[in-house]
């Protein structure tokens, strides 16, 4: 997957111009323009939210929250970056904050369950590689996981990831490299799968 930015094609330029028009209309309360912007971006946002949350209700909540915030703050969008980039910055913030809340709550629930003596046993090992891989990705710190999901699974470039997360592309590359190293360690017993 190349991270080099392609020169903007005429079709993309046309689409950016169209989008600027839509944004102007959204600023004056045009519901049709809101829907058009939503339609243009909702798939990528929902896919990212779902990949990170692994749960439909949470993914819907995160997606809805992203668009609600974006429309509410549309006057803050200055057009210096593409609308999609700005929207992804909101989405990654909503997703990471939302997952942090859920994690804190789950830890509290786990403490309460342990205190009640009704803890669930989650220690069994699953020999299936896919499940182990999923578990290893789940165990990554949220920001590393976001980079793995965006780059290796959803195909975003480091440039796009950097803009969404508010970090330089080099940081995104470094985080991906560390995340892959962790995954590789976690899956060491399956090394023959990629060595062969």
């Amino acid at each position: 997957m190349s991270d080099e930015r392609q020169a903007t094609t005429p079709a993309e330029q046309r689409s950016q111009v169209d989008e600027q028009g839509l944004i102007q209309r959204v600023r004056v309360g045009d519901a049709v323009a809101e829907r058009a912007l939503y339609d243009a971006h909702v798939d990528r946002i929902y896919r990212l939210a779902y990949r990170m949350a692994g749960d439909d209700d949470l993914a819907r909540d995160f997606t809805q929250e992203t668009f609600i915030r974006a429309f509410r703050r549309i006057n803050d969008f200055r057009g210096e970056a593409a609308f999609g980039t700005w929207l992804h910055a909101i989405a990654t913030s909503v997703i990471l904050n939302g997952l942090r809340k859920v994690k804190r709550f789950r830890e509290r629930e786990a403490d309460l369950e342990a205190a009640d003596g009704i803890a669930h046993d989650r220690s069994e090992l699953d020999p299936d590689l896919k499940r182990r891989l999923a578990q290893a990705i789940d165990d990554l710190p949220a920001k590393y996981r976001m980079v793995v999901v965006m780059h290796d699974i959803e195909g975003y470039t480091h440039e796009e990831i950097g803009q969404a997360l508010g970090v330089p592309p080099g940081t995104s590359k470094a985080q991906l490299s560390r995340a892959r190293a962790r995954l590789r360690d976690a899956l060491q017993e399956f090394a023959t799968e990629w060595a062969s």
């Binding site: 993914a59 609600i68 891989l133 990629w194």
Partner: protein
């Protein structure tokens, strides 16, 4: 070489990680529209409320101007205003906790038993009922939301967790029909920062 192979393996193998279903466009759009219109409506009411409050404050100020000893009354008014803001901050903080709880409950309860959920709901219910009888409930938007939260929490407080989906469906319907989560999210957290700033 081995690293490149691992990257290739990872890209292929991870494709199935939390594979998203088809985007539920229409359902999400419906909720976005509902939440945004819900947010606009109270703002209109709030503007009227602020205008009324301004007229009232002007009347009070004129009245006080004619009174010789103004200090105790103005101190009392200031203290009352601070107390009102404190209740509003408490209400908004409480609503943030309820929002987190309901979000997690909806996500988790269908996947695994949540034995402690009724207890958490009861704790939150106590706070909700206290706020319903506090000055925070003088704000109509807050009062209506607290009433809806009370109903949903009461349902979860009675949730047995044993016979599964029917009970959960009813709770979920309650949350959705009243738009509780979206209204909670529409209020927090900018309103909370603003209210805290007033203290």
């Amino acid at each position: 070489m081995s690293e490149e192979r691992f990257e290739e393996f990872l890209r292929n193998a991870a494709r199935g990680y939390n594979r998203p279903p088809e985007t539920p466009r229409e359902e999400m759009w419906g909720r976005i529209v509902a939440a945004r219109s819900e947010r606009r409506r109270p703002q209109g009411l709030l503007r009227w409320g602020l205008a009324a409050a301004a007229v009232l404050a002007l009347g009070i100020a004129i009245g006080r101007y004619t009174v010789v000893d103004r200090a105790p009354a103005s101190l009392a008014a200031e203290s009352e205003a601070e107390s009102g803001t404190a209740y509003r901050v408490a209400a908004l903080e409480h609503m943030q906790r309820v929002e987190t709880f309901l979000t997690v409950f909806r996500a988790e309860a269908t996947a695994r038993p949540m034995e402690s959920a009724p207890r958490t709901a009861r704790e939150l219910l106590v706070g909700t009922r206290l706020l319903m009888t506090s000055p925070a409930a003088q704000d109509q938007q807050v009062a209506t939301l607290l009433e809806d939260i009370e109903l949903v929490l009461a349902q979860i407080a009675l949730y047995s967790g044993s016979d599964g989906s029917d009970e959960l469906d009813l709770i979920d319907q309650g949350i959705q029909q009243r738009g509780v989560l979206l209204r909670l999210r529409a209020i927090a957290p900018t309103d909370l920062s603003a209210a805290r700033g007033e203290l």
